[in-house]
Symmetry: C2
Subunit: 431 residues, 2 copies
């Protein structure tokens, strides 16, 4: 059947991204129609306060009754930009049940219960697209789901949270401490009033779960991600990183282990300046992929903001709408590998360990013996006498070792009378 009847679209949420998407749906209507083959009609926008005016959007479109909107029964597409688990989850399942395809940017929902959404979409024969859920405007979901689907992805490493990248960048360039830079980022609108999701790494961990799921054809959930935020990163860490020719980045690291399990974590990590991820500035995001055949790929671009994110949402909208027009559907969940998750203690990395010791003969030997007794071999040790009063600072770079062995080493080091209490450790990216 050829028809030029409009495809009916509902929008859930009208914040920074939602209002931009709504405006683009209205102002770019002719282009979108030409690209899809049929016009899109925005039939309703669910918001908390339907009376609040939004510039450039017809007030008649707003409704506070999201449930009724998704259950109209005539929707082709539902765009969900409200975030959070509920009511987003229930509304999307209702929309899918009523036969609508779904475009969402909701990484938290996908990382906690994506399997349920995928299964519902599969059963209903509709699409589930979520390019905007990871790395804003950077096309990364589609390349993983489709372009690299004939290859074997070995690792995906990304700077996927712009707020923390901005803060770490500023700590390096301005030499200011975490709390000061965070306050500045909040004043500039780069960080939320409650910055927990960003600075504690929850946002990046949800994205890591999505990236790992797609890369390794397995279901990886938020709880599988070993997560550490940047609140503990000190100016001493920053200085140590610079001494080692590195910068500290909050890295989402999804790597296939030698035994086929998935290592997935989010950690502040020293990245050598020669690595392509080292130079990603400010609020930019970047994702680095290593795969068997394609080799080393990198994607970079703006990681957040209303305009970039709306670009990713609209790309999905056009793709899902085209599928609708052609009676087709996009890729479903690919979780056939069902790989296990490598326990955090078994994940292998290089580490930089900083400790304060008494400056007397034999201490270095004791420290080195302690590492050796846990099977952790050292690549370099650097002693810096300047800790005052017969104290010295040691910086130890290990070879690749399991996290658990490094932790055990540190626990033992802290028992030594010659070692001060504040032993710190940080992962170091390989190249």
């Amino acid at each position: 059947m050829t028809t030029s009847a409009p495809l009916k679209v509902a929008l859930l949420g009208c914040g920074v991204v939602g209002s931009q998407v709504a405006r683009l749906l209205l102002t770019q209507a002719a282009d979108l129609q030409a690209r899809i083959g049929r016009p899109l009609e925005l039939v309703g926008i669910a918001v908390r306060d339907a009376a609040k005016p939004r510039e450039g959007i017809d007030p008649a479109l707003f409704t506070a009754d999201a449930e009724a909107l998704v259950r109209r029964g005539d929707l082709d597409l539902v765009i969900e930009l409200m975030g959070g688990i509920e009511p987003a989850r229930g509304l999307l399942l209702a929309a899918i049940g009523a036969g609508a395809s779904v475009v969402t940017a909701n990484k938290a929902l996908l990382a906690s219960d994506g399997g349920t959404l995928y299964a519902a979409a599969e059963a209903a024969g509709v699409d589930l697209y979520y390019e905007a859920a990871v790395a804003g405007a950077i096309p990364i979901i589609r390349p993983l789901r489709e372009s690299l689907v004939g290859d074997e992805v070995l690792a995906v490493k990304g700077i996927v949270n712009g707020t923390t990248n901005f803060i770490l960048d500023k700590m390096h360039t301005a030499g200011e401490g975490f709390a000061d830079v965070l306050a500045e980022a909040q004043a500039l609108g780069y960080a939320e009033a409650d910055p927990t999701a960003d600075v504690e790494g929850f946002d990046a961990a949800a994205k890591a779960a999505l990236l790992a799921s797609l890369a390794f054809h397995s279901r990886v959930k938020l709880d599988d991600v070993d997560r550490e935020g940047i609140t503990g990163v000190s100016l001493d860490d920053i200085a140590a990183a610079e001494q080692m020719g590195c910068v500290i980045k909050l890295l989402a690291d999804c790597t296939l282990s030698e035994d086929g399990r998935i290592a997935v974590g989010v950690h502040p990590t020293m990245v050598p300046l020669s690595h392509p991820l080292a130079s990603i500035p400010g609020a930019y995001n970047a994702v680095f992929i290593e795969s068997r055949n394609a080799g080393r790929l990198m994607f970079m671009g703006p990681g957040a903001g209303g305009q970039p994110t709306s670009s990713a949402v609209l790309g999905d909208v056009v793709t899902a709408a085209r599928n609708r027009v052609r009676g087709a559907s996009g890729p479903g969940e690919s979780a056939y590998s069902a790989r296990g998750i490598l326990p955090a203690d078994e994940v292998r990395s290089r580490y930089y360990v900083a400790l304060e010791v008494s400056d007397e003969p034999g201490v270095l030997a004791k420290v080195a013996t302690c590492f050796a007794s846990h099977g952790v071999s050292l690549q370099a040790v650097r002693q810096d006498g300047g800790a005052g009063e017969s104290r010295a600072r040691l910086g130890v770079m290990t070879h690749v070792a399991p996290h658990g062995d490094v932790c055990a080493t540190i626990a033992e080091l802290q028992q030594l009378a010659e070692v001060g209490a504040g032993v710190s450790m940080m992962r170091v990216e390989d190249r």
Copy 2:
């Protein structure tokens, strides 16, 4: 209908990329089946010499009769990796006519007659995918066709030919001339015995045509691309670029002009070191995209070689096969904009102009007057006395100006008695 019958696949061409694709189809069969939902069966490989043995591939698969292979009538997919216009074009049209979807890496064919292939695929309800035609393993076709399809792309600029990037890189780092580095690249296998397609920019121009077509939803052909190779790049140019804080790259530049026409060219271009494209090393490729909403994106990775290219081919194979299993089809041609091509003389750029003048009073004023009389304003002029015997070298950086006006200026400069014959010019990328 649910079936587990294999999808039948034929391969045309079995060179470096083709043999790698064949091997992966055979060795990765279980993974590919899991990702597609049905097994793939490689039923035949068309080659010139069917008797020649290829390691790891059953000799019974080879045939010299490509025509019979594509006309079997039971093919689901045809992968074309032979290159060139004919017989590839006729074979693909026959395959499409017989109901097969097509995956190809043939940029020359697509850039000269892509419209015919698209129309045939549309009529037959089959897919046409060609991720491997541009920038090897870097997913760039799919992001343009699908991820950015809801945005307005303003410019696509890329280093899309690894051979020329390797040569220019080496000229910069080793200070060796074009001919020497080319000979070296040939010895290393980075350049072909007949390097014309690479060093004269034909390969990059075909890719520019494909990128511009997708970015601007318009049909852009090879002949529309203003093309200049790197054979004229001298060590003087390299030195001048370095003095200006730039490196020379062979840049494929697709830009939407202010009046909505398409400016598309391939030229050696001075790229400021601060630009993300400046640091792309050796045989790597990178594509930089600027779009209305997504902002500035960059994609980088290996641009050629059997393994990376086979990754792109197999990604398309899985996508086309999944569509087959679901009774769906991928995106067709999007050329609704039907934009005009901006004539080369009207394309605007900054330029660096180098000339030799007699070192006497009033010459600089004469030169500056000549630029001004053609409406070309200057950003910087640099005089270097060291040309010997009362001659001086001038390096002139212009503001953005139309190509035709800069050419007219140079033609007039060459008439001046004070100016030597060898006036050279080169585009300079803005930032």
